[in-house]
Symmetry: C2
Subunit: 321 residues, 2 copies
C-alpha cells in the first residue's frame, strides 16, 4: 500500500500544497531564506494536509479555502517539530541534522515562532472565523500536552490513561483539526463535521501509538533518528508503560528512567519489548482506534475519498517509518 | 506624568483587559494554571493594549472587538518576552525570576507557544479577517527581527540603519499592530488607519530607543533586570553603536563584544556611555520619532484619546523603567 495511490484523489492538489510550502522560503532576507529552504526541503509524508483535502471531498470542495488550510496544518506541524527537537536536544530528524543542531536552540525557538506565524497567515486566508479559532485552540491543546509530557518526564508513576490523554492532546488534536477544518470549509453539515473530526481524532491516536511502537522496533535508518528516542528523553509511551505494568518491580524501563536514559538499560528495554507480546498488544490497541475511525466513515456519504480514508487507517499500522 | 491619567479615557476598559488576561490562568490542569497564574500576576505597563483601546476611540468604539484585540496584543507581547528570556538565559524580568529560570528553557518554549495560541484565539474573536491576518504577519515580522538580532550577536560590523530596521521589526511592528487594529476594528476610514498605524510605528521605534538607553543608564532595581543586559548578550543598541562610531579602534564596547560580554568591559562601557553626550544624542533621535508620531495625530479628528496619545509620546521619553 503506497501513500501515492492513497492520495490519488487529491494528489494534484497536495502537490500544490507542497509548492506553496516551498514558496515560503522565498523571502528577502538571505539568512531566513536559507533556514526556511532547509525546513521545506526535508518535508514529511504530508498526511495532515492530505487529510484536510480528502475531508473536503464529501461536500463542496473549494481549493481557495482548502489549500491555505492544508498549508497551515502542515506548517503548524513543522513548527511544533522544530520546537520539540530543540526541547529534546534532538540531533537528527528525517535523517537530516535538526535546526537546533545546525543553528542552535535559540534560533530554533524563533524559527518555530516564525512558522507558527506563517501557519496563522495561511489559516487567515480561509476567511472562516470558526476554523481560525479552531486552529489556535489546537495549538493551545498541543502546547499544553507537550508541557504535560515534559513535566512527566522520567516519572515512573504514569497511567495508561495519562498516556492516552497526552497523545490525544499532542497528536490527535492536529489530525482532527486537519479533518474537521476540511469538513467545515467544504460546507459539510454539522453531523458530518463531527464524524470527520472523530475520524481524524481516532486516526491520530492510532498513528501516535504506531509511532511509539516504531520508536522501539524500527531501525535508526528508517526512523531517521535514534531508536528509543522517547525513552532516552524520559517519555513513557505505550510499549514502555506496558513493561512497567507487566513487570512490577525491577525492569529495564524502570532502570532507564532512574538512570535518566542510560543507554545500557535503554538497549535492554528495546530488546525486552521487541521479544515480548507487548508489540502485538500495542498494535491491537492502535487497531481498535483504526476500527473506530472506519466506523465513523460508514456514516458519511460514499465518495471518491472514502476509500483513501479507509486505506489510511490500514496504512498507518503497516508503515515502517 | 502618570500612566493612570494618560489612560483615563480607557482605564475602565483596560481593567477589563487585565481581568481577561488573569482569567486565562483558570484552566483545568493545575500545573498549567500555576505557570499561567505566575505569568499574568507580573503584568507590565499595558501600553500596547492601551494603544488599541485609545486608537479605537476615534470612530466606532466597540468593545466586543477591541477588548479581545487588546488582550491578544498583550498576550503576543508576553509570549515573545518568555521566548526572549529563554533565548537570552535571562534570570529576572520585572524584578521576578523568569519562566526559564523557574521551570527551565524547555517549559518556557512551550508556555510561550501556548500563549501565542491564546493570543490567536482572542484575535479570532474579533471576527475580522484583516486584523487576524495582520496579527500573524506581525508575529512573523517580530520573529524574523529576533532571528536577525541573534545572528548579529557579538558582531562589531553593524550599522545604525541595521539597528533601526531591527527595532522596527521586533518592537515597532507590535506597536503598529496595536494602533492599526484599533483603527480597523472601530471602522476608521483607510486614511485614518494609515495615520494610526504610522503613529504606533513611530512611537514604537522611540519606545525601543528609550528602552535601549535605560538599559545603560537605569538601575537594576528599576529595570527589574541587570544593567546593560543587551551588551552582555552581544546585542548592539543605539548607545553602544554610537560608541563604536565615535571611537573607532579600541573601546570598551568593542572589548565587551570581543570578550563575549566580559563584565569588566561591560561596566567600562556603561560608565563611558553615562558620562558622554551619547545619551542625549540617543534621546534626541527618539524625540524625533515622537515628533513624527505627534505629526500624524494632528491629521486625525479631535477626540477624548487625542491628548492621551500625545502624552504617551512624552511619557515614553521621561519614564525610568
Amino acid at each position: 500500500m503506497e501513500l501515492t495511490s492513497i492520495y490519488a484523489p487529491i494528489l494534484q492538489d497536495l502537490n500544490k500544497v507542497r509548492d506553496t510550502l516551498k514558496s515560503i522560503s522565498r523571502v528577502d532576507f538571505p539568512w531566513l531564506a536559507e533556514q526556511l529552504g532547509y525546513v521545506v526541503r526535508s518535508a514529511g509524508k504530508g498526511i495532515r494536509p492530505a487529510l484536510t483535502l480528502l475531508s473536503g471531498k464529501f461536500y463542496n470542495y473549494d481549493l481557495r479555502y482548502l489549500l491555505p488550510m492544508a498549508v497551515s496544518v502542515e506548517l503548524m506541524h513543522t513548527a511544533t517539530l522544530i520546537h520539540d527537537d530543540a526541547i529534546d536536544n534532538a540531533v537528527v530528524r528525517r535523517g537530516q541534522p535538526t535546526i537546533n543542531k545546525i543553528w542552535g536552540d535559540e534560533n530554533a525557538i524563533l524559527l518555530g515562532d516564525y512558522l507558527f506565524a506563517k501557519a496563522g497567515e495561511y489559516v487567515s486566508d480561509t476567511l472562516n472565523p470558526r476554523v481560525i479559532k479552531l486552529f489556535s485552540q489546537t495549538l493551545a491543546t498541543i502546547s499544553s500536552g507537550e508541557i504535560n509530557q515534559l513535566l512527566d518526564a522520567f516519572k515512573v508513576e504514569q497511567s495508561h490513561e495519562n498516556y492516552l490523554q497526552r497523545i490525544a492532546r499532542k497528536t490527535a488534536s492536529l489530525f482532527s483539526l486537519a479533518t474537521e477544518s476540511g469538513a467545515i470549509l467544504s460546507g459539510a453539515p454539522e453531523s458530518s463535521v463531527t464524524l470527520l473530526r472523530d475520524y481524524g481524532y481516532n486516526l491520530g491516536v492510532a498513528f501516535q501509538i504506531a509511532d511509539d511502537i516504531l520508536d522501539f522496533i524500527g531501525t535508526e535508518e528508517k526512523l531517521g533518528k535514534p531508536v528509543a528516542s522517547d525513552l532516552i528523553q524520559g517519555t513513557l509511551t505505550l510499549p514502555s508503560l506496558l513493561v512497567l505494568e507487566r513487570l512490577p518491580g525491577d525492569n529495564p524501563v524502570r532502570r532507564a528512567l532512574a538512570s535518566r536514559g542510560n543507554r545500557k538499560y535503554v538497549n535492554e528495554a528495546i530488546r525486552l519489548i521487541k521479544n515480548s507480546p507487548i508489540v502485538d498488544e500495542c498494535y491491537k490497541i492502535a487497531a481498535e482506534y483504526c476500527e473506530k475511525a472506519r466506523q465513523t466513515l460508514k456514516k458519511l456519504p460514499e465518495n471518491e475519498s472514502h476509500k483513501s480514508l479507509i486505506d489510511l487507517t490500514e496504512y498507518i499500522l503497516i508503515r515502517d517509518k
